[in-house]
């Protein structure tokens, strides 16, 4: 019996240690996972990060040499190219409706 109790205590101690180790490991893995999530996942998973990380505060990123604002639709505009859709544009587009047929071009 004493041996069994001792065994249980030992086992319990190991369990505690294992859990602590696990938590520490999980913490590290979590941090690594978070770091990976930023670079490895999502639509931007194929994005090279070295260029952006190598930037100096004063340099423009590659492909940008000057500010692109204000917009031609005004400095406060939030609608962008949808501003093209004027009543005249709608009437002009409607001239292309000849068959009256509608195609769903979105995925299910």
């Amino acid at each position: 019996m004493p041996n069994e109790i001792k065994g249980e205590e030992l086992q319990g101690g190991m369990t505690t240690t294992d859990r602590r180790t696990l938590l520490r490991t999980a913490g590290l893995a979590g941090a690594a996972g978070a770091a990976l999530a930023g670079t490895m996942h999502g639509k931007f998973s194929l994005a090279p990060v070295s260029e952006a990380q190598a930037q100096t505060p004063t340099s423009m990123p590659k492909g940008t040499d000057k500010p692109w604002w204000p917009s031609k639709w005004g400095k406060d505009d939030e609608a962008g190219a949808s501003n093209h859709i004027t009543p005249e544009k709608v009437l002009d587009a409607a001239k292309w409706i000849k068959d009256g047929k509608i195609y769903k071009i979105g995925r299910v």
Binding site: K43, G80, G106
Partner: protein, 253 residues
Amino acid sequence: MPLFGPRAFTLRIPGGPTGGPFGDNKLVYHDEFLSTEIGQTGTQFDGLGHIGIQLGKDGDKSEMRFYNGHTAAEISDAYGLKKLGVEKLKPLFTRAHLVDMVALKGGMMDAGQEITSADIKAALAKQNMSESDIKPGDAIMFHTGWGSLWMKNNDRFNSGEPGIGLDAARWVIEKDLALTAADTWAVEVVPNPDKSLAFVVHAELQTKHGIHNHENLIFDELIADKKYQFVYCFAPAPIKGATGSNGCPIAIT
């Protein structure tokens, strides 16, 4: 459906039916619960708050610039974008020109294969369409064949894609178009032929020129009917502060 990295699309309808019966008429009903990046999964329309460019130091939100120079400091908010939300856009109803790259190239294009402005001109000529008929505010759409991988080989579909590069983007900007679209998840070529660039066409068209982008469309029926010119109609879901929109765009002939 193909999703990117940790993006999720989870639909649940509890109950079966969810509720009822109500009243002496014994009405029963279904409700769905949806958990997803609602504007960035499946057929998706990119709003102007989706893509920006960092001009300053890492973490400096006052120099993370979006369309019209709006900054992350101004617009970012955990409860929805404070500016450039997709609800600010006007509904789109415009002429669309469909470019059949499969017909031009003789088969499905491959990942990393770029559609150039020369390709667009060649495809238009092959389809007996005049480049001069493309007017400001029109939409241009690309059938690359890559969409045929949808739900057939999602891993390959997600691994990259054919699409437009900066050359074609400049053509779109010169034509002053309202929208680009394709049967792919980004419309632009991935990876870019210049391996140091990431989604640079997104930034060029959307961020710098406010030109919209519709991803994961399907043109099979239009192609079968040889309908390359039609009216494109889409109103983004009016979700305040959303980065994009799901929904079903339609083509009308």
